[in-house]
Symmetry: none
Subunit: 198 residues, 2 copies
DNA sequence: TATATAATTAGATATATATCTAATAAAATT
DNA sequence: AATTTTATTAGATATATATCTAATTATATA
């Protein structure tokens, strides 16, 4: 009797952290670091859980340079998992919905807070809307270029007169990095996100 | 998010003892004592596992006098469980197969060891086949009737000359009961079965 | 009412496991 | 060759759990 195999399969799924891992992976490949960050775990803990999921044939791995990418085992997806795990596969659809909501919010902010000439009418008071507006502006800067404070001010004034406030917000939300009077765009991964809390 | 419910479900199935319990219950209702005995566990341990299975909605209970009968949750059976548990529901089919194998063996014995006139050609040497032949003969006697040894001998001689051996086998395998010179059919439940060991 | 039977609850113990930090390994970049 | 980055292994710890015995509860029977 292959009882042990069945027990192992269910043990793999009998832990909330591992289910959340599968949930994340249902949205696409991820490497260890990213998983650890998203789940607020140490890297070794991710390794630990990955081992269990792997030996239950729930995930596959791919090594590229020295980083390991995890993904759901395609076999597992094809079979559609079991009823109790349907939510994992439904998650994609749910996120789509979420995403389109955010897309709509963004469009609404661009329409309502920016004038036809592209200038910012006023700084939104709502946190999420403010972030959307700031990001829209900061995206016009080029990555890898070092700007002086004066250049930044001139740039911002194209959009809004209160360049001091906006400049401060750029730093505060980590859109930019400042050293003395030099400003530079941060990588997009560092930008504060307005994603709804799930 | 109902993560906890899903975790609970898989935890319930992530233990060999509980899977064996489900396996036993797939063959029908059982009470606590019987489960404890079959699984070589104490009664409290059975209670412990039953609680987990119950809270995952895998089994149902019914109280009769002071004994509690467990059975698989019909909901669970109807949904057919999940792929990994199919073996539980396959057990019935397996038994069926087993039964038809025995049916075939019986037919073969009747064909090969009994002549056209119904007499036993020879006493089978194989244990299972011998039991089949003996049972076939003994079934011709009427239940509830008390036979003398002489009557039994006459009866057996219709089938085979060595009535002494066969008479002794009748007693040995508890097809009949003997008191002094009186022979009587035992109830069928007492007859030695040739079922294969499972 | 006393006794017997089946089950549950309480409490103890040993094993399993989820998590962390520290150390090591593997691979790439400087 | 030295440093950086990502991952794994080792070891420690705390929590969870499978199992037992002993005590308690629930029900039935003498």
């Amino acid at each position: 009797m292959q009882l042990d195999k069945i027990v192992g399969y269910h043990k793999a799924l009998a832990d909330p952290t591992r289910l959340r891992m599968l949930l994340l992976l249902s949205q696409g490949e991820m490497h260890g670091q990213a998983l650890a960050e998203k789940l607020n775990l140490s890297q070794p803990t991710v390794t630990h859980h990955a081992a269990k999921l792997r030996s239950a044939a729930l995930i596959k791995e791919r090594r590229e340079k020295n980083t390991v990418y995890f993904k759901l085992n395609p076999e597992f997806i094809r079979k559609g998992g079991e009823a109790s795990l349907q939510f994992i596969f439904d998650k994609g659809a749910e996120d789509m919905e979420e995403e389109s909501k955010e897309q709509k919010l963004k469009e609404s902010v661009l329409r309502n807070f920016f004038a036809k000439d592209g200038r910012l009418r006023q700084i939104p008071a709502q946190y999420k809307k403010k972030l959307i507006a700031l990001q829209h502006i900061v995206e016009q800067l080029k990555p890898g270029i070092v700007y002086s404070e004066k250049e930044i001010n001139t740039f911002i004034k194209q959009y809004h007169d209160d360049c001091a406030t906006i400049r401060r917000e750029f730093i505060m939300h980590q859109f930019m990095y400042r050293e003395n009077d030099n400003y530079e765009l941060n990588p997009r991964e560092m930008w504060t996100k307005w994603e709804s809390v799930k």
